[in-house]
């Protein structure tokens, strides 16, 4: 009973054919799985997003409660045959609502949004993620899995249960993970370096990272010490998600930039981290 515009898929298709980007639109939920208590994988059917999403791009998902009109952004974690998955933690009322969704329900989505990781160069991409930063790096691994010019090593840190290893393993060339009882991703990176796992097939090493702020700062510093390229996917409270409101800024050396449209991906140089 809300006043939201819900175009049919035809409208979206026509729009795309006309060169426009699909607006907020409905999508059918096809699966909801709890991966570990409070962490959910939500899959919905959305051929447009599945076809176009790039690593670190995100989708805005909307609640069905008009008291909560603002978008909830989530990084794409996998796509398959016209379906899109996100993995999220239940942190507030919006995500609590999404956790109660069931296959057959409908959600409203907008996307894919944001600037992806730059993975154009032939390189060994080290995918460093912590906690709920794993989804975009799973998707990066999926995206690069069939690219003969690249190699990927997933380096995942968890609070306790290693809930995402099984999703990234099929795509990454190597996967290592750790939880708080043993250390953190820096522990893993040090270990990887010590074992010579940082260099693969003579390729340049590029760090791609997403996770809690302190972790990302540590990763950037670690990369800077070794003079490695490092791209980081940032998080910020958003208003629109598509670049119209300037509500989602992050401080960079070039001033305050939009996480949603200038990012979410920034280089460590842009963020001025680890110099």
């Amino acid at each position: 009973m809300s006043a939201t515009f819900t175009p049919t898929y035809d409208v979206v298709n026509e729009a795309v054919a006309a060169g426009f980007f699909p607006p907020r639109h409905p999508a059918d939920v096809t699966d909801v799985t709890e991966l570990t208590p409070g962490v959910i994988r939500l899959t919905f059917r959305d051929p447009y997003i599945a076809e176009h999403a790039r690593p670190a791009q995100f989708v805005n998902i909307f609640t069905d409660d008009p008291l909560m009109p603002m978008p909830r952004p989530f990084g794409v974690s996998e796509t398959h045959d016209g379906e899109v998955s996100v993995i999220f933690a239940v942190v507030g009322k919006g995500t609590a609502g999404f956790a109660r969704l069931e296959a057959g329900d409908t959600i409203q989505v907008l996307g894919p949004l944001g600037r992806p990781f730059n993975t154009k160069t032939a390189a060994h991409y080290v995918l460093v993620a912590g906690g709920l930063g794993v989804p975009p790096l799973i998707y990066t691994a999926q995206h690069l899995a069939d690219d003969p010019a690249t190699r990927t090593t997933a380096v995942f840190g968890y609070r306790n249960e290693h809930f995402a290893d099984k999703f990234v393993e099929p795509y990454a060339d190597a996967t290592v993970s750790i939880d708080e009882s043993e250390g953190n991703v820096i522990t893993l990176l040090d270990h990887l370096e010590a074992e010579g796992g940082l260099t693969v097939d003579g390729l340049d090493t590029v760090i791609l990272s997403c996770g809690p702020l302190p972790m990302m700062k540590a990763v950037a510093a670690w990369a800077a010490e070794r003079d490695l390229a490092c791209q980081l996917s940032m998080e910020q409270r958003m208003g629109c998600g598509y670049g119209t409101c300037v509500l989602c800024t992050v401080d960079t050396v070039d001033g305050r930039l939009k996480v949603c449209a200038d990012g979410p991906v920034f280089t460590r140089e842009q963020l001025g981290w680890g110099k």
């Binding site: 006043a3 026509e14 009109p69 978008p71 409270r237 409101c245 509500l247």
Partner: protein
């Protein structure tokens, strides 16, 4: 209980022949629906629809030099509302003149250039540069609650507002809209001051002061502590501002803003006495909202020929 939308059949990507135009201070809008300042950036919106379809677009507040705005987080959610504390981040008027404005004019949009300042000289510097520009109208924002100087501090003080108007008015012949804040006891007081000192039109409301607190930390969610509330929740406050202003100022053109997310709500503003409306926060939640509102209103006006005729002639319902 899922609603069959009035607009389910509308294809917003098909060019539309607008049936009902309006006039705001002598400027024709092809329909009575514009975008509200701060919720429209050409670079972002052009991907979703042809922006020239709108009645007008009011661009982001523009300052004499680039402003960096407030630290993040800049936003929180209220019940049926957005709370924002951008603090008028913008790349400055020079950038506006070479980038947004020419692009919008090239695209065929009717452009309302929103003007920001921390002091009278700031406003004057921007108006001076816009005076000979292609902007169709100027909208002076004396109502931003997220800056410590200028903004709302002017709009809540009729003497300061009169002084500012006396400075700006002689600088340009462009239609000058004064954008007012609802954070006053009686909005008709600054409204009168603006009109008596040369405003060609008024727009209202800007956001209401508000905040949220994170119950896990006990601290405000927004870094700047407080912000401005907009979106569906503010509709009754916007309507009363327009209605009361129309009652005391029968002839001034008014742009009604606040909580518009459907043609029906736009219509309430027109019946309250507005010449046009602008859509703000609704565009954050749905990029095409302004265009959808315009299309819904265009149909609703079909059944209201008397109102439609008044608007087209630059008159209002009351």
């Amino acid at each position: 209980m899922t609603e069959a939308k009035h607009t389910d059949h509308i294809n917003l990507y098909e060019t539309h022949e607008w049936k009902h135009s309006t006039q705001v201070a002598g400027v024709t809008w092809k329909n009575p629906v514009g975008t509200a300042s701060g919720t429209f950036q050409y670079a972002a919106v052009r991907w979703f629809y042809d922006v020239s379809q709108l009645g007008a677009v009011s661009t982001k507040g523009c300052s004499p030099v680039p402003w960096e705005g407030n630290p993040s987080p800049r936003t929180a959610e209220g019940p049926a509302s957005n709370i924002n504390a951008v603090g008028l981040q913008n790349p400055g008027v020079d950038h506006y003149l070479v980038d947004d404005l020419p692009k919008l004019k090239k695209a065929g949009a009717t452009v309302v250039a929103n003007v920001a300042g921390h002091c009278d000289d700031d406003y004057a510097a921007v108006v001076a540069k816009l005076a000979d520009s292609d902007a169709d109208m100027l909208e002076i924002n004396v109502s931003c609650p997220n800056v410590t100087h200028g903004g709302m501090s002017v709009g809540t003080d009729p003497v300061a507002l009169a002084k500012l108007m006396d400075k700006l008015r002689p600088m340009t012949d462009k239609p000058m809209i004064i954008k007012l804040t609802p954070n006053v006891t009686d909005i008709t007081v600054p409204a009168r001051a603006a009109v008596e000192h040369g405003a060609d039109a008024l727009s209202m409301i800007n956001t209401l002061l508000g905040m949220r607190i994170n119950i896990r930390t006990g601290e405000p969610i927004i870094a700047n502590t407080t912000g401005g509330v907009s979106g569906p929740a503010v509709l009754p406050m916007g309507l009363v501002a327009v209605y009361r202003t129309r009652t005391v100022l029968p002839d001034i053109p008014i742009i009604g803003i606040g909580g518009v997310d459907s043609g029906e709500k736009a219509l309430e503003y027109l019946y309250a006495g507005a010449n046009a409306v602008e859509v703000g926060a609704a565009a954050l939640f749905d990029p095409v909202a302004p265009l959808r509102v315009a299309r819904e209103l265009d149909d609703l006006l079909d059944d209201r020929p008397e109102l439609a005729a008044k608007l087209a002639a630059g008159e209002t319902w009351r």
